[in-house]
Symmetry: D2
Subunit: 484 residues, 4 copies
C-alpha cells in the first residue's frame, strides 16, 4: 500500500493544471498554496500505516479480500459507515481541518454502486460493471478522489436546460462511440489539489428536459481540457511564509472548468438516465450529512483542546471555563451522535452498500450548520481578547530583533512561554476565523435544503392522527385554503 | 400472554395501599386519579396483541425461546436496545405521555443482570441466579415493574450515613436468615399505580460507610409495610370529571414509604456490596439517558400533530408555520438520533446484555432537558392565543345550556367545528402545561449531573495534544494554580 | 383616593354577570374563582397608599393637577411611560402575575387620546372631548379598566364583513340618536373580573367594507346585555380550596358576549372611522409591546427569587447555580432594557401623549415570547426533580393525620423546614406551569405579527446601499423574480 | 472645524513610531496597512461636514458654547449619550467596522470628568481643572483620541505589584516635579494609527499595594519613548493590494510599549489614588457596554444589506429568507435597544456628565458577545456556498486574462453581474470572517466579567423576599454550607 512519500510522488507526476493567484502551480506538494492540503491528505496515508490508526484507515476489500485504504472501499454494513465517521473525526484531529480527497469521491463511488445497480436493472446497461472495474483499480493503486457535485447553476429560477448559457451546469455535449464529451463548470470543489481523480456527479434532481445534465463519471485530475483555479481563504496569504502562524496542514477548494473534456466509456457511470439523479443525490446526501457530524466533532475536539491550551497560556486554570468546555463537548457529541444515529437507523441497499437514514442525516445537516458556530464562539470567549481578530502582532514583528523582545516579554502570561501563547492564539484564529475553517454550512448542500427534506420525510398526517385519537376528535380536519 | 383485561384484573387483586387527595384508592383501574395511568399501560398490552405494533412490543426470550413482552426481556444486542426506543416512541404516540411501568423496571432488571454478574464474580454470591429466576417469572406472568432509585436524600451536603435522620435514604435495617428488612422512602417514582412490582435500586454511588444503603431488590407493589402517596400534576383535578378536557391516558408519580418492609432473599440482588453501586448507576443511566430521546421524540410527534391540528382548527393552513413545524421535528429527531447514536456506539457487557455509550447517553440527557421545552414553546406559538393558559372556558361552561351555545358559536373559526377546536386546545394545554407533561428535566437524574459525566468521560488532555501537535507546541502546558 | 377596601366594596356593587364552572359569581371579591384576581388588583390600590410604592403607583393629573392613580393618567412624557413599566414590574413582584385591569384599559385610553385627536381633526367630531370627560371621571373615581381588543375572528381567511356569522367580530349593529348598539364577542380578555369598566378597541386594521367593526368605546363591566365567562388555567381547580398550594393572588381571562349592548354617545370614541383603526392598533401595540418587558422582568424577578429559595430548601447553596441564575437575570433585563430602549427612542404625539418606538417595541414582543420560556426552564432545572410536574403530594395528603407526618419527614432536606420546601415547590409550579403563568406569548398579538412589523419598519434598501457603497458596487441590484 | 483633508494632514505630522510586518510606517494615511483605518476615521470628519449627519457628528460644547465634534464633547444628558450610540451606528454603516479613535478616548475623557471631580473632592487635587484644559484644547483642535485600558496583565493569579515582571501593567516608575514617568505596555488598543492622542486609564480595580498602577493621563500618539506595533487580522495581507477584495475602510489594533515615557503634569488625571480606579472602571464600562450595542447594530445593518445583496446576486429573491433577515434585524435591535434602555435608566453624575445604568449596560455586553455571532452565521447561511470560506478565487485570478473570463462567466447567476456577486461575496467574507470583524467579544472586557457585574448588581435577596411573601413563607431561609 502506498506510503505518504509514494502518494506525494504520484501527485508530482500529474500534469500541472491548477492555478492560484494568477500562477500555474508546478508542484502541488511543494507550492505553498497547495502543500498544506497535500500534507493533510498525506497524514491519512501515514495513519493507514500507523498501528494506532490502521484499523480505522484500512479495511479488507469485499471485492478482493485484500487490505485497502478505507476511503477506496465499499461500505457494506453499519460498521463500515461508522468507520467513515471515525476516519473523518481522526482526520480532523490530525489535520485540524477537512481532507476532502478521502471523503467526497469515496461517497460518490458508494452512491453510484447503488445507482448503477438500479439503472442497469431498468435499462440493461453495464454501468455497474464499469464502476466495479474502476473501483478495483482505485483500490489497487490507493488513490485519493475528489467529488464534484456543485454546478455554477446560473439563474436559479431556471432549470439547466433553460439557462441562457447552457455551460452553467456540466453536460454531455457530444456522445462518441468510445466515450462522451462533457463541458461546463463545477465550483467550490474540495481537496482537488491533493487528489488523483475527480468523481463527477449530477448536482440536482433532473427531469427529461435536462437529461444531458444527468452525467456521472470519474476523470483524472489532470485530464486534457480541465483547468482548475484554487479559491482563497481568510488569512491564506500567510501560507506563503513558513512560520508558526499556520499549521503545516490545510484545505483548499477549487473551481473546475471543463472545456470539451473527453471521457472514455469505461469511466462513465450515468449518461442521460435523468430519473436516477434522484437516487444519486439522495444516497449521496444521506451518507454525507450523517458522516459530516464526525468532521464537526473532530474539529470541535481540537477546539476544546485549543481552548484549554489558551486558558492555560493566559495563566488561567481551564476549570474556570468548565461550563463552556462542557457545552463545546456537547455540541461535538450531538453532531457525532445524530450521525451515528442516522447510521443505526439506516439500511442496506439491494446492491449491498449501506446507507444512513435520510431523515436523521438531514436533521444532522441542520445541526452541523449551527452548533460549530457556537463552539467557535465559545473558543473565542474562553481564549480571551488575544484570540479575537486583530489582537496579535505578525510573526515578522514577533521575530524582529528590535520589536520581538518586547512582544515576547508582554505575551508571557503565567508559567507558559510567550511563544506557546502566540502559537495557540494563531491556532485559534486559524480554526475559528481563518484558513482552517471548513465549509460545513453549505458543504453537501444548504441547511434550508436539509430542512425541506426533514419536513418531507416526516409523516405529519400520521402525527395529526395520534393527536386526534388522544383527545377523541373524529372529525376530518383539513388544511384551510390560503388567505385570499 | 396477558391481555389488557387480564392486566387490569391482575391490578385489581393487589392490596390497596395507594393514596391521593387524602383517600385510599380501592381500585386503581377505575378510580379517576389512577385510571388514566392504568389505561396508558393497558395500551401497551393492547399494542403487544396488535399486528401493527407486535414486533415492537414483544420479542423472543433469550432465556426460554418463548414470546414475551418486550419490557420483560433482556436486551442482548443493539437491536434490542433500539427496540426499547421504539417501544417508548410508540407509547408516547399512543398515550401522549410516559408509561413508566414498562420502562424503569425493565431498565433496572437489565442493569442488575450485568451488576449481579460482576458481584457474583468477586464475592461468589448467587444474585445473578436469583435475578434470573425472578425474570423468568416476570416473563411468564407478563408484569409491569416500576423502578425506584430516587431517595428523599435529606441534607445534600451529607452522605446517607451522615444524615441526622437515617431514613432519608432507603437502607437495610435488619438482615435475617431468609431475607432483609428495608426502611426509608423512595420519592417521585413513576408509574407505580399501574405496576405489579417495584424494582428498588441504589440512588447514588456509595462508599463503605454507606454500605447499608447499597441495596437492590424487587418487591410486589402491595408488599406489607409499603404505603404509597400519589403526587399531583397541574390540571389533574380536572381528571375527577369525565369529559374531553383530558385524554383517557395519563401518568402519575408517587412517594413510597417503606416501613420495615421484609424482602425475602430470592428477591434481593445487592445487599451491602457498595462498590457495585457505581456499576448499577452507570449502566442504568446509560440506557435511561439514551432511550429517553425516544420519549421526547414521541411526545414531540404528538405536539407536531397537535400544532398542525390547532392551526387548521384556527382556520389557518399549517404551511404558514412550516418553519416552526420543521424546527419541532428537528428537535424530536435530535433527541431520537443522539439516543440511537449512543446505542450504536455502545457495547455488550460480559454478562451478555448490551449498554449504550455513556458519553453520548449523557449528552442526550442535556438535549432532553432543553429541546422539548422549545418544542412546547413552538406548539404554543403555533396554537395561537387560545392555547395559552387561561384562554378556554371550562367544559362545564362549554356544555352549559345557557352559556354553551355562545361559547360554541364563537369557538368555530373556519370549516372545523368549535368542538374540535376546544378539544385540540385542551390537548395542547395538557401536553405543554398540564397533567401530560412528563418529567424529562430531572427524570433519570439532573442535566447538571449529566454534564459532569460528559466532562469526565472526555479525554481532554488528548484533545490538548491534538492542538499542540497541529501548531507545533512542544512545551509542557500545565494547569495554573487557582487565583489566590 | 380609593383604598383597597373601597375598591373591593365598589366591585361588590356591580351587577353579577360573570360565570365560571357553570355558575354565576355573586361576589367577585370572595368567590374562590375570582377573589385572587381581585386581590392582585387590590394590591395596586394598597401600593398607591404605601410610601415605598406611592411615587410609582400615583402621579399628578395633567388635566386637573390632582393626585391620581398612575393607571388612570395620561402618559405625556418618556418618564410617564417608564412609570408604566415600573408599575408593571412592581405588580408582578407583588402578585407574581398579571394585573390586566391596571394595564390594558390604561393603554387604550392613551391610545384613543391620540386617535380621537386625529379623527376629530379630519372629521370635526368631538370624540376627544368625550374621552376627556370619561378620563376625568375615571381619575376622580380611581377605577380599574380592562381592555378588550381580541375578537373571536372566525374564519381567518376572510374579513369581518365577509364572515358567514357577522357576530364573530364586534360591530355597531344599530346607531341611535343617543348612542350605539354593539353586538358580538371579545375573547381572552384579561382582568375583567377585577375591573369596573371595559375599554373596547378595534382588534385589527379595517378597510371601508368593515367600517361597522371600527368601534371604540368604554362600558361598565356590568352593562346590560353583557355576559362574561371566565376561562380556566392549569391547576386553577386548586383555587377552590384555601391552602398554601396557591398564592392569594392570581389572574383570570374571560370571554365577553355582547348581546345588543347599548352604549350612550358620551362613551363612544370611534364609530366607523375605519381609517383610524391603523392608528389605534399601532399606538396600542407600541406601548403594550414595549412595556410588557417589565411584566416578564417582574415575574422573572420572582422566578430568580424562587429558584434561589428552592436551591436552599433542597439543601444546596444557590451559588451552585450562579451561572443559571445570572442567565435568568439577563433574560429579565433584556426584556426590560429593550422596553426602556423603545421608550427612549419614542416620541410625543401631536395630542401630547408619548408613544414608544414601534420597531423596538415589536422587537421586544419577540423577546417576550421567547426569553421567559427559557427562564422558566432554568427555574425548573435549578429547582430539582421536586418542582417538576407530578412530584409533590397534594395538600390534602400533606395535612392528612396519617400520611402527613411521613411526607413532612421526607420533604425536609437541609436546615429549612419541609413546609417551606413544599410551599416553594408549589410557587414554582404555579409560576412555570400553573395558574400564575400569564399569556406573554400571544397577549398583545402574536410574535409572528411583531416580526412582520419589525421587517416592515426596517429600511432594508438603505442597508443594501450601505453594503454597496462599502464594497464599491454601482450596479442597480434588484429582486429577481420568484422561481417559476 | 477640521476637514478630512486637514485631519489626514495632521496625522502626517506625527513622528513615525508605528510598525507592522517588521517595518516602520512612514505615513499612516497612505501606507496600505494603516490607510484603511485612517479612511474610516476620515469619514467621521466628512460626516461632521455632511448636512445628513451633521446633527449626529457635531454638537455644542457645554464649556464654550461652540460647535465641536461630538467625539470631543462632554455628555451631559441622556440625549448626549444616545448621540454617542447614533455616532457609532452611523460609523459602522459608513465604514463597515469600528472607528475606535472616535470612541474610546471620548469615553475615557467623560469617565475622568466624573472621577477627577471625586478625587479632587477628597484630596483637594486639581485633576479636574487639568482635564478641563485638555478637553478645551481637544475641542478646539478636533482631535481623535484612542483609549488604552488593557494591560499585558501577565500572571492572572497575581496582582500587578506581585508580578515577577512589574512592567506587565503600566505604572508610574518615577514622579518628577513637572510630571511623571510611566512604563510598561498596553495591548490590543484600537484605532491608535488613526489617532492624535492616547488616553491611558487603569485597566482594573486596584488596592493600596498597587497604587503605582493607578494612573490616568493623555499622551500624544508620537510621544517620546512610545513604540507601537500593529496587530494583524485574518485576510489583512490582502490589504497590501488595491482591489475590490477589501473596502477602503478598516480598523486595526495595536500593542503599545511605553519605555520610560515622561508625561507632564497637565496631562495627568490620576496618579496613585487607587480607590478611584473603581470609579473609573465602572463609569467607563457603563458607557462602553451600553453604547457598543450601536456598533453591533450598525455592522448588523450592513450585514442585513449584504445578505439581501448576496441573495439577489445569487439569483434568489431576498424574501426567500424573510425569516432569517427578520431574525438578523431583531438581533441588531436588541443590542441597540438594551443600550438605549441602559441610557434611559442611567443618571447624571454630580460633576454633570451622564452615565448609563450599569446593570443594563453589562446585560448588553453579554448580548453583544452572543447575538452578532448568530447574525454572522445567518449572513453566511443566506449568502450561500460562495460566501463560505474558500469558495471565491482571488482577485489576481479573477482579473487574469487567461483565467478571468471563465471565472466571470460562471459567477454570473441571474440578472446581476458576476462582478457584483464577487464584490458582495468579498464584503461578506470581510464582515464575517476577515479584517472587518471587530472585537465585540472581549472589547471593553469579557462577557464573563459582565456576568459577574450583572449578578452583583441584582438585589437577589429582595427577589427571594418577593417569592417568600407570595407563597407565605415566614421562615428565615439561609444559604446552606457547601458540600463537604
Amino acid at each position: 500500500m502506498r506510503t505518504t512519500e509514494e502518494y506525494k510522488e504520484s501527485l508530482r507526476k500529474l500534469r500541472p493544471n491548477i492555478y492560484k493567484f494568477g500562477k500555474l502551480i508546478e508542484d502541488v506538494t511543494t507550492d505553498p498554496v497547495t502543500k498544506r492540503t497535500v500534507e493533510s491528505h498525506a497524514r491519512c496515508y501515514a495513519a493507514a500505516h500507523d498501528p494506532e490508526y490502521e484499523k480505522i484507515f484500512t479495511t479488507t476489500s469485499n471485492l478482493t479480500g485484500e487490505k485497502v485504504f478505507r476511503w477506496n472501499s465499499l461500505m457494506m454494513s453499519q460498521d463500515d459507515v461508522i468507520a467513515n465517521m471515525k476516519v473523518k473525526r481522526s482526520c480532523y484531529r490530525l489535520t485540524g481541518t477537512c481532507t476532502g480527497g478521502v471523503c467526497v469521491g469515496w461517497n460518490c463511488m458508494n452512491t453510484m454502486w447503488a445507482t448503477t445497480h438500479e439503472i442497469d436493472k431498468e435499462f440493461g446497461t453495464d454501468y455497474h460493471d464499469r464502476l466495479k472495474k474502476w473501483i478495483l483499480k482505485a483500490q489497487k493503486e490507493g488513490i485519493t478522489v475528489a467529488g464534484a457535485l456543485t454546478d455554477a447553476k446560473g439563474d436559479r429560477s431556471k432549470k439547466p436546460s433553460q439557462q441562457e448559457d447552457l455551460d452553467k451546469n456540466i453536460r454531455v455535449i457530444e456522445k462518441r462511440k468510445d466515450g462522451i464529451v462533457i463541458h461546463g463548470a463545477k465550483v467550490m470543489i474540495c481537496g482537488v489539489a491533493a487528489s488523483h481523480e475527480i468523481f463527477v456527479l449530477p448536482g440536482g434532481i433532473y427531469g427529461e428536459e435536462d437529461k444531458d445534465f444527468a452525467v456521472a463519471c470519474a476523470v483524472p485530475r489532470d485530464i486534457e481540457g480541465l483547468t482548475i483555479v484554487e479559491a482563497t481563504r481568510p488569512s491564506d496569504l500567510r501560507e506563503l511564509e513558513d512560520n508558526f502562524e499556520m499549521p503545516q496542514t490545510g484545505i483548499t477548494q477549487a473551481y473546475l472548468f471543463f472545456d470539451h473534456v473527453f471521457v472514455p466509456n469505461e469511466r462513465v457511470f450515468m449518461c442521460g438516465e435523468y430519473k436516477y439523479t434522484r437516487s444519486s443525490i439522495t444516497y449521496f446526501t444521506s451518507t454525507y450529512r450523517a458522516c459530516i457530524g464526525a468532521c464537526v466533532a473532530g474539529q470541535g475536539d481540537v477546539m476544546v483542546g485549543s481552548a484549554v491550551l489558551m486558558a492555560r497560556a493566559n495563566g488561567l486554570p481551564s476549570r474556570t471555563f468548565n461550563d463552556k468546555i462542557t457545552s463545546m463537548i456537547i455540541n461535538n457529541e450531538v453532531t457525532y451522535g445524530v450521525g451515528l444515529g442516522a447510521i443505526a437507523a439506516g439500511s442496506a441497499h439491494e446492491s449491498g452498500v449501506y446507507f444512513p437514514d435520510p431523515l436523521l442525516a438531514n436533521t444532522n445537516k441542520v445541526m452541523v450548520a449551527t452548533l460549530p458556530y457556537e463552539t467557535k464562539r465559545l473558543t473565542q470567549e474562553i481564549g480571551g481578547g488575544i484570540v479575537e481578530t486583530g489582537c496579535m502582532p505578525s510573526y515578522k514583528d514577533y521575530s524582529d530583533p528590535k520589536l520581538g523582545p518586547a512582544i515576547k516579554k508582554y505575551l508571557k502570561a503565567g508559567d507558559t512561554s510567550g511563544e506557546t501563547r502566540a502559537k495557540a492564539t494563531r491556532l485559534v484564529e486559524w480554526l475559528t476565523l481563518g484558513a482552517g475553517v471548513p465549509g460545513t454550512m453549505h458543504g453537501g448542500g444548504s441547511p434550508d435544503g436539509a430542512r425541506l427534506f426533514v419536513k418531507a420525510l416526516t409523516p405529519i398526517e400520521k402525527y395529526v392522527d395520534y393527536a386526534k385519537k388522544l383527545i377523541g376528535i373524529d372529525e376530518n380536519v383539513e388544511e384551510p385554503a390560503k388567505k385570499k
